[in-house]
Symmetry: C2
C-alpha cells in the first residue's frame, strides 16, 4: 500500500532555496514538461568537431524558419558548442533515437577541447551532399538539420538564447505526412524529462485546428494529415 | 509494400520557401523535436481569466528557478496571455494530461476577450492556498506552478521570449524521486509533436551523470534516484 497515494506537495521559493543544489537542479529541470532531445554538432575553424547533448531546442517561427536553443553560461559543459557557434556561425541538430541515446548522453561528459565527442562516444560525422557546409551532423540519427546563427541573446541568469535560422533538413520520407506534419515518433525520436530521463512516445492522435463552437476532432492516420 | 522504406528527403531553404504556408508551418513546428504541453493561465486586472495552450515552455535555470516561454507576436492567438502577463506580471503553467488534452487543445480557438477559456472548454480555475495570488491554474492538471514575469525579450521575428521566475509548485508527492527528479510521466504529463500531435511516454530509464572514461549507467527505479 502506498501512503503517498493522492497526497500532494506544495513548495514556495523559500522551500527550494534551502535544498541541496543538485536536488534543486533535478526538480527545476523537470518542471517545464517534456523536452526535445538533440545532439548539437559544431566544428572550430580548424575543423575539430564537437557534439553536445541539448534538451532546450524550441520552435520559434516558420517564415523564416527559426529555432531557438538555451546554452549554459560560457565555462559550463557546453562551452565548446557556444565558442564554435559564435566563431563559425554554423551548427546542426540531430534528433536522438533509442539506438544512440546512451552515446548521446555520454557526450555531456567534460571531454577536453582537443577531443571530438564523435570519436569519444562512437558516433559518425555526417555532412550534407552538394552544398558548402562545415558543421557535422550525426549519421546514426534519423532526422538532422543544419542552422546558421542569427542572434545571440543574453539571458538574466547568464545563459544565452541562441536564435538559429534553418538552412537544410535531411529526414526519412516515410515520416512526412501529406499536410506537412512530420511523425517524429515514427522516426524514433525520443523525449527527455528532467536532467537524465529518456522516453519513447505513443501517439494519442493529431487534433484538428481548434475553432470556437466546434469540438476538436482526432485523426489516427497521422500521415494522411488534415486537408486545408 | 512501402516504396518509401529507407528513402530519405533533403530540403534546403529555397524548397520550403515555396511551400504553402500551413504546410510549412506544420513541418517547421515538427523539427525541434518533442515539446512540453502546458496550459498557461492568466487574468486581467479585473479578474477575467484566460487559458492558453503553449508548447514552448523551456527550462532556463535552477538558481534562481527560471522558465522561458515563446509567445507569438501580439495580435496572434495568444494575445490575451501576453497582455495579461505584461499587465499583472503573473502566470501559471499546468501540465496537460490525457484526461484534459482535448479541452486543452480547444483553448487555442479564438475566443473573444470577454470569454474565459476555463468556462468555454470546461476546466476549473485553481488558486494556491494561503498565499496572495491572482492568476488561475488548472484544477484538473496534476502538476501546476505559478510564475512572476522577469523579462520580456523581443525576438527577431516579432515573437517574444518571456522569462518567468518560479514562485510556487503543487504536484503529486508520489511523482517526486528521493534525489529531486520528478517523474512527470507518472503524473500523466503528455508531450507534443508539431502543431497538433499529442503523445504519452514510456520511460527508457534515467542515465547517470556522464563522466569521461566511465560508461553511463541506467536506473529503472526512477523514484529511488541517484545518490550524490
Amino acid at each position: 500500500m502506498n501512503e503517498n497515494k493522492n497526497k500532494r506537495s506544495f513548495w514556495i521559493s523559500t522551500d527550494w532555496e534551502q535544498w541541496p543544489e543538485r536536488e534543486r537542479a533535478r526538480t527545476m529541470n523537470s518542471l517545464s514538461g517534456f523536452k526535445s532531445a538533440n545532439l548539437v554538432g559544431t566544428s572550430d575553424k580548424h575543423g575539430l568537431s564537437n557534439l553536445s547533448m541539448v534538451s532546450s531546442v524550441v520552435h520559434l517561427g516558420s517564415s523564416p524558419a527559426l529555432l531557438g536553443m538555451v546554452l549554459r553560461p560560457p565555462g559550463a559543459n557546453n562551452a565548446h558548442t557556444y565558442k564554435n557557434l559564435i566563431s563559425t556561425g554554423q551548427c546542426t541538430y540531430s534528433h536522438v533515437n533509442e539506438a544512440i541515446f546512451l552515446k548521446a548522453h555520454q557526450c555531456s561528459a567534460r571531454y577536453p577541447k582537443e577531443v571530438s565527442e564523435f570519436d569519444a562516444v562512437g558516433l559518425t560525422p555526417w555532412l550534407p551532399p552538394g552544398i558548402d557546409w562545415q558543421a557535422p551532423a550525426v549519421a546514426e540519427a534519423n532526422i538532422r538539420m543544419g542552422l546558421q546563427l542569427s542572434e545571440d541573446i543574453p539571458l538574466p541568469n547568464g545563459c544565452r538564447f541562441m536564435v538559429c535560422a534553418l538552412q537544410w533538413v535531411e529526414l526519412p520520407t516515410d515520416a512526412c505526412a501529406s499536410d506537412g506534419y512530420i511523425a517524429i515518433d515514427q522516426a524514433e525520436s525520443l523525449t527527455i524529462s528532467g536532467l537524465d530521463g529518456y522516453h519513447q512516445t505513443t501517439s494519442l492522435g493529431r487534433l484538428s485546428y481548434a475553432k470556437v463552437d466546434q469540438p476538436v476532432q482526432v485523426i489516427t492516420d497521422r500521415l494522411k494529415g488534415w486537408e486545408d
